[in-house]
Symmetry: none
Subunit: 221 residues, 4 copies
DNA sequence: TATGAATGAGCATTCATTCAT
DNA sequence: GATGAATGAATGCTCATTCAT
């Protein structure tokens, strides 16, 4: 399901390759070709069904070359994710911080998330698949989600102090729950094929989020 | 991730075995032993890592016998789920129906769900794994979730008509979102190892759910 | 060289196969075919150059069948040695025990050893090769040699007590040294291709052994 | 064990590199670095397990550079042995020549051998390993042993003529047998880990040698 | 029904060797 | 001379599936 427990907002590993980065320009090119090929193959066949030889064939290089840059399928998968990181963050997801209207911030955040998700739906499904298969990957994702959840929890806490948010809610669990809700919605929509528009997703999820926190929703009188 | 989008409440396949049920008493016993062994092995090693020979070994029968009752690993997995269905529904999750207090109903439902989840966490993780691997299983789960979501959506709709729930919410998407939220929470807690108590989970999720819908939360004056 | 440090006399492992022995008659036949094939292939190509597929081809079975009975090339090698054990002991190597004439006993023992060696020269060379490659095998051989050396040392000790043997010699080191001498001679002769007759080998080694211990050599007046 | 049949005394190949010696100073340095690295890696991992890339990595040079100086792993191994030749001979092993006391000469020779062996045990084991693997190397060693054995046999012959040594012994086989005995003892002690002191080894092997030949042992009245 | 031996396609992985820069 | 990326043949090993007994 989406990334870890994050829901809106994305952050991906930056673990360095165990096999040192290529020195020469040619090496850089080859490695990049492999990563690109891997993304293509993974998205087409899924992580499990993808064979290393499919990837090297797609990258037009020999089997051995794969092992010049990567140790395993898991590892090149991480590299694919790493390469997609910027792409997935691009939409500019503002963190929930001081601002005129908290609901607008949440809405913008959600919109950014859904749009990024739509653009990278295949990759997001892949993440889900790998997370259920690979405990390391799952752990890594969990930790990234942790960081994000804490940031969000802090924002919720602040709004509770300001009397804007239901004081009875546990900030961290609430953060997890609402992120999870949005993440799950995106997954259902783009990965499972539920046919919802981004606008509707944004509208409903933002309203639910705002209601849940006890924020006054923008358009309501 | 729970199954599909269900969140609270569980429903499992009832697809009949392609290999007709065993006729003799011995056959019934052998088949049952295989299903029990499969559950043990799947929970221990995960679906992917489990080999058919592990299952037959655990069931103390020969490799060939497996094929007397099942066509594939996928099929025996379905049988495991089928066998666990009752067990997982047991805690008595009342559907959201007419009653004095909607929030109490939601709370009871959530509690039932979290408790069932806790008891069957390994199996729930397995479901997640298989869903990301097997398109058929994913589809099946989606459909079951669909039915459940529609029932829930109907209840929400009714409450909107009665002026109890925020009328601006799309019932079906809301149903999905809130179920997803609870499902995700359970997954984080029992599968990923977040250390939350069932009471806290019930409390927070129920409050968020009630707030999100616009219901007045029980204890609040 | 030769086996462990034994020199005359042979004793081979009786470690049971980690993969349980076959249950059916067919299984027993197949396993035996594999062991026989392995001996043929090992003797023909050497341990290192032998590929598992060469062995299964020679045994007329599929690759997978190999793994029904053995875990690795090392393991089937042990089985080959085990199967050859009787064959190699056959010549009746009497232990050095009380008897009329110690020198005759030594001579008979040496003759038995050289004859067995000649019959199984290829296998003996294989043992050498594997011992330099595989630490486990080396250790195993060392331990078997240890037991044999102690037996021999005891006999030497007894003869020292009886005033038959040079009392200044350390029994255990002497046992090792003389066994090693004979083993090395056999290796040079049959494995390295030194062209010596068994009679000459027996004559010289026995005389050296007797002289070294300080025994009076039979034929000398 | 030990090298060929040599026992005491050591002599190593002086085959010239097929790839002509380096011309530039840098070349000389690189080649030397490779040989040193090879020794380190061979001693650490054994000949078989050592990969060319391990050696170049240890020598801090590129893979390609290896082929500037060597044709194969076998070839660099010979170079390592060549480089170690002096080191292994160093202890000054006097050949068995005219002298006051034959036993003293044998003793000095044995001591020199055991001490050299102890210093270069890893290399000696390597030699064993390679000899069982590489027929060329085995042959080369055999020939060197041959030369040494003949020298020794001549000395034995002379002593037989002088009535100092048992005339019934075949000089060449005796030479091989006794050298083999000492070589095997050294191997057991330093390569297999038998815990014997050099003094004890020298004492016992010299006494056995002297007895075997029929020489009167120094200390005996 | 039950058995368990036999099958073999399928895939990952290694590493000596080459060669363009 | 030195570099290190690229190569790809060679091989080990797994495991779902079949089938004779």
């Amino acid at each position: 399901m989406t990334d870890g427990d994050r829901g809106p907002d994305v952050a991906v590993t930056d673990a360095p390759s165990p096999k040192g980065a290529p020195t020469t320009a040619r090496g850089v090119r080859t490695r990049a070709a492999l990563v690109a090929a891997a993304r293509t193959v993974f998205e087409r066949d899924g992580f499990l069904a993808s064979r290393l030889t499919d990837i090297t064939a797609e990258a037009s290089c020999s089997t051995g070359t794969f092992y010049t840059y990567f140790v395993s399928k898991e590892e090149i998968f991480l590299a694919v994710m790493e390469a997609a990181k910027d792409e997935m963050l691009h939409p500019g997801v503002p963190h929930v911080e001081a601002s005129d209207d908290p609901v607008s911030v949440i809405e913008a955040s959600n919109r950014g998330y859904f749009e990024a998700y739509a653009r990278n739906a295949k990759l997001m499904m892949l993440q889900e698949q790998v997370a259920t298969i690979d405990a390391d990957f799952r752990q890594r994702r969990l930790e990234r989600g942790e960081a994000f959840a804490r940031r969000n929890a802090k924002a919720i806490s602040r709004m509770q102090d300001d009397g804007l948010v239901d004081a009875a809610l546990d900030p961290i669990m609430t953060s997890r729950a609402l992120s999870g809700m949005v993440g799950r919605l995106a997954y259902s929509s783009f990965a499972l094929g539920m046919q919802w528009s981004v606008d509707d997703l944004v509208e409903t999820s933002t309203r639910l989020w705002a209601n849940a926190l006890g924020l006054r929703y923008r358009d309501d009188a």
